[in-house]
Symmetry: D2
Subunit: 319 residues, 4 copies
């Protein structure tokens, strides 16, 4: 699977990057950075540092929009720490971002590919929204977009009704959800489900695969910050869902983004009436997204754990 | 239990009235009518006719607001038929409504009662909102308000996100939910759960209790109109929930009414974060309503069926 | 002219009361009080005290809604002082309000009148909106409603786009403007125009008519509070406009109240396209209000000054 | 003056282009096209055809965003005709647009210029908003942006409160007005003021300057379409205002774009309180735009007429 990742790295974006780098048969074609958890320059630095730490091959990393469209900026440093990596210190990156803007990198990568690509967005949708506003014809070059964002029945996290990524740039989300791109919405209904316990994280942190070791350290750092025994893999779950769709349950729905509510701005409005027997006749609007209602939590954890330390060195058994 | 019912009769309001009239230890102190399923004059006529048909004692029935506050009017004749009773023809009522406006009847009934009363609202909240705007001090005279309205995790029925009663007058709902009155929100999460099958309805329609017989006829008429074997008792469930709270599961929440959304106007915004472990610290706002998340469907049906034909004549066994 | 006044007294409501009490051929049938500049209990006390000070005949004064409909409360004590009368101390009132609620007094006064009445509203429109929600048929009993409120081309005062009375209860304003009652909108385009200078106010304060003397004192107190030489007569201008329409310039327009804007909530949206030549064909909506675009400032001031001290004692000329 | 024009050509955009091409000391560095009056491909074609007709030198013309950000699309073919040029048929253009997207051309032109440029926008602000979202640091490369759009005291044209360009993409307008770029808002308060009568237009249409001749023909066509004797020069007024600021009256204001109103979406909310004596203390927000409140209509017309046929051939006087 050839994939573009759009990120605001972020602890769980880091986990997601590590998974995508190690997952069998996954080819990361480009990584685009956007304002979100932290400012875009920190996102770029964090992303490059994660690639270095995982000894990843050269992959284009591009700096994108440093601010949302019409929304006021919010950041999420209470979740990810001041630097966005939860306090895990990585070496200054040795590699550099490409010169072109993320929107331009998205455009070229989609055009250069022989076949439509999978795009996984783990961040506010500003970059993708600008792409689709400037070049709506590129919707056809996207095979599927797995969006970490929104909420169907769970309620919000950053506000009472809205999830962080979409609340950070509701207009961008609206543009993407109206674009015609086939969307899989991996929202809060799934996001917090896939967790790793501290014992497992500790084991992982000792992996001889540097990706696994870093994943373990990041998970342990979050466990410590939130004083909890179970840590969600967050964005990494969305990557897992893109790779192993057999582990998620989805239904197609008409989904709109509320832009104008006093309490509901940035929320995903999922028309559930089609599933409600007597109300089915009142459902309106074409299905524009598959909503992930639930996941096989154990299967996604296992695939994540197995993949992320796949390059572990065999233990040398010396006499 | 002394109770005031606020209605927009309506098939399921009729079922609710019949239940309240027959339920043991329930004393209906007043019935107030409001614009909703049908226009308020039809609501008054239907309500009086149901009381007649059930051979109810004299109970004050008052005409209330003929239109919502700031909202455009919507009716629900596709659900309840042109006359609001789903085509079941009742004799013209022999009794009359009281002269005073519903808001005045609410006020006097609350003031005249030695102890705070239970109010069950089965309709748009215009009457109650006007009461609490004119006389906010009467909030203390309401022991509990069971509101049939809203939706927590179910989505909407009349719009993608909103339930009919609240969408019909969102501003009224906002006033009530901010009033300080202790609210039990019996919304769509419960509303469609309690059903009666056509066989049972058929048996009920032959009851020698005229209340039971009418209930059976109304259920059969809805079954026929919607070509379904299971018919919800709807508003009657809210009355049952008020009488037998042991059959419902509730949690306290901060609930606000969205007035300004393009897709979410009239929806109930329930802050679920307090129940979400890691998000508990982000919940905001005082608990102002107990949300009915689920019901003991079988128990509520049985209590309804038993009560509504309670005055059935014993079969005379002649030699 | 028989008139009902709806007030939130308030310095300039006091001026308006004094004008209405003294204007020739004006008969004040009732005064209804509402939450606005100050809380409704202070409004009642201030109103009664003004009637006492002016030695007014018995006029029913009724306490009305103590809070707006769906809006959060705002008060205007920075304009009117803590007590609402700008620091002018009046004796505790000797008279009492009527027992009935303002909405009930509005209803009965309209019904008891042989012919439709003029209603002048100088405050948030909560009382009138509740009246017209409960009894929309009473719109026919109102010959004309002169509304002090809104703004056509002036911009707002309490917010960037909205005038205080309408911003205090936008939903009430929406109800009134959609009610079918013929409205004259005396908004900010006129409100600040009619002024009295301190010299004239000083002369007035020495009037032997207690109404004139009080008016003079109130004007002087405002001049001192705002350190200005010219003081607007404010609400009194709306009463003057109702009595002497020959001194105002109006045009009929379609006017709506914005309920949902982030910057424009509570503003009056006046369709000016009908007056714009090339755009006339795009105007939409029936004319529901006459907008006061300008006033004959000098004429309104003179009529105000002449009327308010009309009961001055002739100077006794002793030999 | 070096200038970039952003257009949705459109009859009056054509007039504006002709003026900019002929105005002394004006150097058009680039023309960027955007969805607006007509679809962006027609805008490109019309723009190139106007340049051809005026025998303009080579100027980069770039195709931009084919749709607004979050708003539904509206077009204005009732004003500009199906082709956008009011029925005036031009030869198919001989020149081609540049390959790069308008946003990229804006970026490069700003970066390539030794000093900050003037940008005149005559269309929905999508292109500029995308530029400033992707590259907010380029705000410093814009000396001044003259925005044809909005309305301060005039009311709306395409809706009751909003002007067409801003209503077509309110979120884009919001981005631009919050960007820090110094804005001169040439809105409806000025837009319809500068007119040419049919007699003058007829004279112009016979000019030996092809620019003047085309301008005359376009004006005559509009006069015929709307059956009027006076035709506004519209967008050309904004170009004239940019070139000859001595002919416009402006005041600095805090201006916000309303995104959320039911009646006011897309309107410019101008804080006028600073100019309102007693209200000055309530004004809030930094001045982010100079609002054109009025224009010297005669002077702008004359400068337009003189400039647009500046290349007229001297009459050859043959013996
Ligand atoms: Ca992320
Ligand atoms: Ca009902
Ligand atoms: Ca007042
Ligand atoms: Ca244009």
């Amino acid at each position: 699977m050839d994939v573009i990742l759009d990120v605001d790295t972020g602890v769980d974006d880091a986990l997601a990057l590590l998974l995508a780098l190690r997952a069998p048969d996954v080819n990361v074609r480009a990584i685009t950075c956007v304002d979100g958890n932290v400012d875009v320059d920190s996102v770029v630095t964090n992303t490059l540092a994660v690639l270095d730490a995982a000894r990843a091959p050269q992959i284009p990393v591009a700096r994108g929009c440093p601010q949302p469209l019409a929304a006021e900026r919010i950041h999420a440093q209470q979740v990810h720490g001041c630097d966005g990596l939860g306090g895990v210190r990585l070496a200054d990156p040795g590699r550099e971002p490409v010169e072109a803007h993320a929107v331009e990198v998205l455009r070229r990568t989609l055009l250069d590919s022989a076949k439509p690509l999978t795009v996984v967005t783990l961040a506010p949708l500003t970059n993708v929204a600008v792409l689709l506003t400037c070049y709506p014809e590129l919707a056809d070059r996207i095979d599927r977009m797995v969006v970490m964002g929104g909420s169907a029945g769970f309620g919000g996290n950053d506000s009472v009704a809205a999830e962080f990524n979409l609340l950070h740039d509701p207009e961008a989300a609206d543009i993407v959800f109206r674009s015609g791109v086939p969307i899989t919405m991996y929202g809060l209904d799934a996001f917090y489900e896939v967790t790793v316990d501290t014992e497992t994280a500790h084991g992982l942190s000792g992996s001889t695969d540097p990706a696994g070791a870093l994943a373990g350290s990041l998970l342990l750092a979050q466990a410590q910050r939130f004083a909890t025994r179970e840590v969600t893999i967050g964005d990494a779950g969305a990557v897992a869902a893109a790779i192993w769709p057999e582990h998620i349950d989805t239904d197609p729905h008409h989904v709109r983004i509320e832009l104008h509510g006093a309490h509901t701005r940035g929320s995903t409005v999922v028309d559930q009436r089609a599933r409600r027997g007597i109300l089915a006749g009142r459902a309106s609007g074409a299905h524009n997204a598959r909503v992930v209602w639930s996941v096989d939590e154990a299967a996604l954890r296992e695939t994540f754990l197995t993949a992320v330390s796949r390059h572990a060195q065999p233990v040398s058994t010396v006499a």
